[in-house]
Symmetry: C2
Subunit: 533 residues, 2 copies
C-alpha cells in the first residue's frame, strides 16, 4: 500500500458538480452504503454542507428509508449504491417505493469507463437491474454530464406523482475534472384535471351506489375534507386501498374505509358499488390469484370512472367536484373519526390485546409505519380511534419495508414520534435498520409482533386446498429456534423490552412513546405453525 | 376467511411434475423463502422425499447458501423465490455465485398467467431481473411445460463450469393439472482441450519466466498434483486468483501463490511473468480502476496463452501437458505445504494474533468460508500452514456472502467442520444466516473480525488523494454504536463468545472447533475510523 496513486484532488470534478446540483435542487439527505467506486462522490458530500449523509448497513435499509423519507418530506432523498450488487440489494424496497409513487433518486457507482470492458469481478448488468425497477435510467459518459444528468434525474424523480430515477455514475466521470456549474432543476407540477371529467364524476355520483377510491395526496388534510363534503352531499362511500402509501387518519379526520386484503372479502365489500370513481389510484385487484377466483373484485355492472390519474392534481379535482355538487362547506360530523379508547385488555398478550394500548398511547402527530401483516388486521381498524396520525403501509408486498420506512420517516420528521408495527418474519429482512435508528438516535418505537411464523403462509396453504406436510410447516415456522428480538435490538444499540401480557405491553408502550429515542418492544403472541405428525 | 377457494388438490399438477423432475435429475436440496404464489411448489416438496427443504429468513441467505452448497457438492441446489422482489434480494449473492461458476437453479414464482395483466402490487419485471444475473432464463406458459422447462433449467445450471439458471413459474402453471412424467435431465460434461493448445502451452513453458494461472476444478487434488509436477519440470510459477471459488490448501497439498488484491502489488507480483498460461480462468485484472493506473497488471510483453477455458476439462489438459513435458511422477517436495504452527500470540487481539490459533486448531478436512476482508489478508497466507482444508472466497465482491456460503457448505458436507472468517461490515448484510445454522444445527464456527469499520473504504479514500472529512468518516465507521455480535448471534439461537485477547481467542476457537454445532466468536480488534476534527 506504500505506492498509492494519490492524484491531486482537482478543484472541480464530476462528483462535486453532481452533488452541488442535487443540493441546489433541494436535496437534503443522502442515504448511503458506498464502496470504492463511490469514493469521489463521498468526498464531494464532505464539501457540501447542505447534504446530510446517513449510513445504512444494508442497501434495503437505504432504499426503504428513502421511501419513508419521501412519503413524509414529499421530496426525494438520494440513495447511494455500490455497483450492481449494491443496487440489487435495494431493489425490493425500491419496488415498494415505486408502488408508493415515492420520489427516489438512486445514484449507482460503476467501474470507470475504461475499466468496464475488462469484466472485473464486480462488473454486472447495472443497466438491466436499474431498468427493471426504475421509471428513468441515465448513464453518465463524461464528467461534464454529471451535473446535467443529475438535474434530469432529480426532475424525473419528481415527475408526479413520484418516480424512481436511477443515475449510473462510472468512477472516472466522478473523479475527472468537470467545468459545469450546478444545473437548475425543474420540478414538474401535477396537471389539472379537465372539467369534463369532473362533470362525468358528478353525474355518476348522483346516480347513487357510488364510491370514491382515494389515493395519493387526497388522503391528506384538504383532500379528506373535500371527500367528506362530497360524501355528505351524495352519500357515496369513501374507500382507500388496503395498502395506501400514506393516509392521514385518527380523531378529527374524515374516515375512509380500508379495502380488505383477501379477495373474497374484497369482492364482498365492493358488491354494492355500481359507480367507482378513481381519484389518484387504479382499479382494485386481488393481491394474489387463486384457482376459481377472478382477479377483479368489482361487482357485475360496476362502472369505473377515472376522475384523476396519479399524475394529476387530485385535490384540485375534488375541489372542483365539490363545487360542481354544491357540497356543504364541511362534512357531516358522522364522517369524522373520534378519539375513542377501547377497554383495557388484560392477561396473555394477543394481537387484539395490543390494540387498546396503541389507541390510548399513540401521541398526536405520530407516524405509523405498518408492516404488522397478519397481526395488524384488527389493529389497523382500531387505530382509527387513536389521536390523529399518518399511516404508512407496505405498498408493494415486498416484506421488510416497515423498519426502514420508519427510519426514513423519522429522518424526515424529527419532531414527530414514529411507531413501527412489524411482523417478525418481515422484520428479519431489514433488521439492520435498527442500527441506523440507534446511530442517529431516531425517535422510533418499534413493536415486533412475535408469532414465530410466516402466519400468512399457513393461511395461504390452507387456501390452496393442499394439506401441507412437515416440510411445508418447516418453511412457515420461525419457532425453532425462536428469535429473541430484545437481544437482536440490543446487539444493534437499541434499548428493548419484552411483553408477554397485555399489562406489560401497555406499560412498555406508554413508556417508549413518552421517551425520546429508539426502543423496541417484542410483543410475544401466541403463534407458531402447527406441525403435522 | 370463511369462504376459502379450496379446490380439490389434483393428483398431478405442474408443481409436482417439476419437483419430481428435479429430484430425478439429482437435486437433493431446496433452499427456500416462499410466498403465496409458491404454495403449490411447497406442497409438491412435501410429497417428494428425495428433496430436503431448508428455510432462509432472507433471500440473500438462500442464494449464498446455494452457492456454498454448489461449490462443495458440485451440483446445484434449488433456490425458491417469491416473485420479483424475493428474487431481487437474492441477486447480490447470485452475482457472487455466477463469478464462482457455481451451478444454481433459481425457481421464481410469479402471479398466475391470467392475473399478470392486472398489475397487482407484487407485479414487477421478473424477466428483466432474472436476465440481468442469469445465464439461462425460462418462463413456463402451461402446466405441461413445467417438467420440460425444469429439466432444461437443470441442464443449463450444470453447463460447465456451472451457470445460474432461472425458471419463472406462474402460479397457475403450478396448480393446474399436468400430464407429464418426470423428464430426464441431461448433464453436460466439460469438453476436452485440443492437443494443439497443449503443445503450445508446453512450448511457452519451456521458454521460462512462465506461470500457470489456475481456476476451477484444477485447484483440487489431482489438478494441484499435476500443476506441481509441471512446475517441477519447468520451474514455472503456480498462481491462483485473489478470489478463487474453491482451493484445496494446507499441509500435504501443492502450494499456489495467491495474487494480491491491490493493483500495484498485483502488477509487481506479475512483473517477471512473460508467459501466462490460463487454465480455467481469465486474464488478471485490477479489482477496481484508479486514476493513472492501468486495468491490466500484466508486464509489458507478457504473452497470454489459454490452455483451457472454464467450460473445458482443465484437469485433463494438465494431464496431457504433464505428459507432453515428461514431468516427473510427483512434484518436488518443496512444492508441498507443511503443517507449521506459528508461535502462540498473546496480549491484545489483532488480526495477525488470530493466525496462530487458526493454524493450530483448524481440523483436517475443514472448509473455510473466507470473507474476512481487510482482517484476512495476513490470515489467508498463514492458513497455508494449517492442516489440509478447502478455502472458499468472496468471488464477486458483493459483500455478505461468507455466512450464507458457510451455511450451504455445511449443508453439503455435514461431516466436515466449517469455519467462517468474516469482517463485521459484510456480515451485517446476511446475518440471518445464523438462524438457519441454529435451526439445522450446522457445524459452523464463525469468527467475526470486529474492527467496527468498513476498513477497506478508509484505505480506498486515502488512495483517491482526497482528505475525507467528517461525513466520509461517518460512512465508513461502524463504531457508533458498536455492534454486539454475541447478542446478535444469541438472538438467533447461536451460542457466542467474545475474545479481546489472543489467549481468549485461542481458547474459544479451540473449544468451538472441537464442539459440534454452530458457534460464533466475536474477535474484538483494534479499529474504528479516525474522525477528522
Amino acid at each position: 500500500m506504500s505506492r498509492t496513486p494519490a492524484p491531486p484532488a482537482s478543484a472541480q470534478n464530476g462528483a462535486r458538480a453532481l452533488v452541488r446540483t442535487l443540493a441546489a435542487g433541494g436535496v437534503e439527505l443522502c442515504l448511503a452504503n458506498p464502496g470504492t467506486s463511490e469514493m469521489h462522490f463521498v468526498a464531494a458530500l464532505d464539501r457540501e454542507p447542505r447534504l446530510r449523509a446517513v449510513l445504512g448497513l444494508f442497501e434495503g435499509v437505504v432504499s426503504g428509508a428513502a421511501d419513508g423519507y419521501a412519503r413524509m418530506a414529499e421530496k426525494p432523498a438520494v440513495g447511494l449504491f455500490h455497483l450492481g450488487p449494491g443496487f440489487a440489494n435495494a431493489i425490493a424496497n425500491l419496488h415498494n417505493a415505486r408502488r408508493a409513487a415515492s420520489p427516489v433518486l438512486a445514484v449507482i457507482g460503476d467501474h470507470a469507463t475504461h475499466h468496464q470492458p475488462w469484466d472485473a469481478p464486480l462488473s454486472s448488468d447495472i443497466d438491466g437491474l436499474a431498468g427493471a425497477v426504475s421509471h428513468w435510467v441515465g448513464r453518465c459518459r463524461s464528467p461534464d454530464e454529471l451535473a446535467v444528468m443529475g438535474a434530469r434525474a432529480l426532475t424525473a424523480a419528481q415527475e408526479p406523482p413520484g418516480q424512481i430515477a436511477s443515475l449510473i455514475v462510472p468512477a472516472d466521470t466522478a473523479w475527472r475534472a468537470a467545468a459545469h456549474a450546478p444545473q437548475r432543476v425543474a420540478r414538474p407540477r401535477p396537471q389539472k384535471v379537465a372539467g369534463a371529467r369532473v362533470r362525468t364524476a358528478a353525474e355518476r355520483l348522483r346516480k347513487g351506489k357510488a364510491a370514491l377510491l382515494l389515493r395519493g395526496k387526497v388522503l391528506q388534510a384538504e383532500g379528506l375534507e373535500l371527500a367528506g363534503r362530497i360524501a355528505t352531499a351524495t352519500e357515496c362511500r369513501l374507500l382507500v386501498d388496503t395498502f395506501a402509501p400514506r393516509l392521514e387518519r385518527g380523531a378529527g379526520r374524515v374516515r375512509v374505509e380500508r379495502l380488505p386484503y383477501f379477495p373474497e372479502q374484497l369482492a364482498e365489500s365492493l358488491q354494492s358499488v355500481q359507480q367507482l370513481i378513481l381519484v389518484g389510484g387504479t382499479e382494485p385487484v386481488a393481491f394474489f390469484a387463486y384457482p376459481n377466483l377472478p382477479s377483479s373484485p368489482l361487482a357485475e355492472g360496476c362502472e369505473l370512472v377515472r376522475l384523476a390519474h396519479a399524475s394529476e392534481d387530485g385535490v384540485g379535482a375534488l375541489r372542483d367536484l365539490a363545487a360542481q355538487l354544491r357540497a356543504p362547506r364541511a362534512p357531516a360530523p358522522a364522517h369524522y373519526a373520534r378519539h375513542e379508547p377501547l377497554p383495557k385488555a388484560s392477561g396473555a398478550l394477543t394481537a387484539e390485546a395490543c390494540a387498546p394500548a396503541l389507541v390510548r398511547h399513540l401521541p398526536e402527530g405520530a407516524i405509523v409505519s405498518d408492516e404488522a401483516a397478519t397481526s395488524g388486521l384488527g389493529i389497523g381498524m382500531a387505530l382509527e380511534r387513536a389521536r390523529p396520525h399518518d399511516h404508512l403501509s407496505l405498498t408493494g408486498g415486498a416484506i421488510g419495508q416497515g423498519l426502514p420506512l420508519a427510519t426514513g420517516a423519522a429522518l424526515a420528521c424529527p419532531q414527530r414520534k414514529v411507531l413501527c408495527l412489524h411482523g417478525d418474519g418481515g422484520a428479519m429482512y431489514t433488521l439492520q435498520s435498527l442500527w441506523t435508528q440507534a446511530r442517529e438516535q431516531l425517535d422510533v418505537t418499534t413493536v415486533i409482533f412475535s408469532n414465530r411464523a410466516y402466519a400468512i403462509l399457513s393461511i395461504e396453504m390452507h387456501r390452496t386446498g393442499e394439506a401441507g406436510g412437515a416440510k411445508a410447516a418447516s418453511l412457515f415456522d420461525l419457532a425453532n429456534p425462536a428469535l429473541r428480538w430484545t437481544q437482536l435490538a440490543e446487539g444493534m444499540g437499541v434499548a428493548a423490552s419484552r411483553a408477554e401480557t397485555a399489562e406489560e405491553f401497555d406499560a412498555q408502550l406508554a413508556a417508549a412513546l413518552r421517551t425520546r429515542g429508539p426502543h423496541l418492544i417484542e410483543a410475544v403472541l401466541p403463534g407458531g405453525v402447527r406441525r403435522p405428525n
